[in-house]
Symmetry: C2
Subunit: 299 residues, 2 copies
Amino acid sequence: MASPPPATVDARGYLEDVRERVDRWLDAALPRAGTGPGRLAEAMRYSVFAGGKRLRPAMVLAACEAVGGDPRAALPFAGAVELVHTYSLVHDDLPSMDDDDLRRGKPTSHRVFGEATAILAGDALHSLAFELILDRVEPPTLACGLARDLACAAGVGGMVGGQVEDLASTGQKPDEAHLERMHAGKTAALFAASCEGGGRAGGGTPARLEALRRFGRELGLAFQIVDDVLDVTGTAESLGKTPGKDRRATKMTYVALEGVPAARARARRRLEAALAALATLPAPAALTALARYVVERDR
Amino acid sequence: MASPPPATVDARGYLEDVRERVDRWLDAALPRAGTGPGRLAEAMRYSVFAGGKRLRPAMVLAACEAVGGDPRAALPFAGAVELVHTYSLVHDDLPSMDDDDLRRGKPTSHRVFGEATAILAGDALHSLAFELILDRVEPPTLACGLARDLACAAGVGGMVGGQVEDLASTGQKPDEAHLERMHAGKTAALFAASCEGGGRAGGGTPARLEALRRFGRELGLAFQIVDDVLDVTGTAESLGKTPGKDRRATKMTYVALEGVPAARARARRRLEAALAALATLPAPAALTALARYVVERDR
């Protein structure tokens, strides 16, 4: 890189900048509204552009920078990660799963487009993520590595497995091992793949990729604990979704396990473990700022 | 290859042989029953081993042979294609889509495992298909090509798009252009990717891959026309699903467009177009036999 990165980074400013770049990329990558069958393209765009924070793409780009890479090399992967994240939200919100009416402050996909189109839009986003990585990333060894990591994070050992754990946890007595397994799958797997993939696109060494993976995993676990806390302490306006829903749905959460103060302390410990993993990286400023933001956010 | 392939191949014997090889591969690739969260592994296995004909894997392997390749090189792709096909059946059968109770003669996934697990098992099969190609296929240029073709066939321009067309066609006046678009997406896209990918794994030249792609597309269109016909002429026992369902659901079909004899003649024309595309390939015997079987089958 031409000049050393700044020692501290403003997370909100970084996220704003990432949103602009990633949204432009996603806008060009998604099928045009009004084209293709039915309202499929509209449904895909609706959920992708419903106002997410673009936290995962930001971690991809920041992880690429952290190993001294040019973040432009990681942009297709950043976009693909957001598509997989969005597909998982659309499916998780379905009536047969979490049955959510609001997501990011807007009616969920199935409320707007109907259940069939929501399921299919999720499926299409899922396929498109792989198509774009494999089509846009060079060389093929890098494309393969990124797509494989993403597929692992999305599947049985990651997001799908975590969602199954989540559904199975409803009404159960809070159990620390179950909670960690569920959060590891639902969230930490994609956080870890985002960070490792960003580092991979930036040409990171195996040791640095391993550090980024550990960072992502710890931060993902912290993120979900904070989500549990915000469900109790947040408002519909700040969250963009219905608060208190976990308790009413008798979901297994860290708040139910140990109360808000202990859960907050746990999230801070996870944050410290995440930051410790960054110690050997050459340019971790943006990742560090994002990590602090994740744990200190109020939405 | 050591010896020239036989001039004619018995399609049923070939399918039996493929089923054995592919099923062994799938059995090793799928998560073990009793492992992982909830009944996810069971649901994935239930649908994969519910008695499909393994027609698409057979086309992958036969296309590999058709360009003079060793079909063992195409086995991971053959398995992945079957996983994507299975995922699409699980989602298409859901209550919000085709609302089917029977598939391949057994209760559909959502009838056995509930809707949430069925959706998630489909999602997990979808991710696993890509994970396996990217993990098991060498070199990376081949893995990338195969995974990209599969993602394209699965997405908006393929299976998802075709399913949206299908749902939108219900109760509509039969329209030839709509029918072809719907069948091209629902079926022909994966047939084409199967044949092209098999040829790719076999080291086929670009011209031969293009021929295989055309073959697969024409055969896929023929296959769906035959499906429309069998829905009218078949029995529940021979079909393994409820016959007459298209008409009761006022689905748009070729039978509704032009009646059984004209639809049959159309399928035969598609078959001839498919076979013509094979003319320049060195060893098309197995593909030829499979193509004739597809159009002449009674289930």
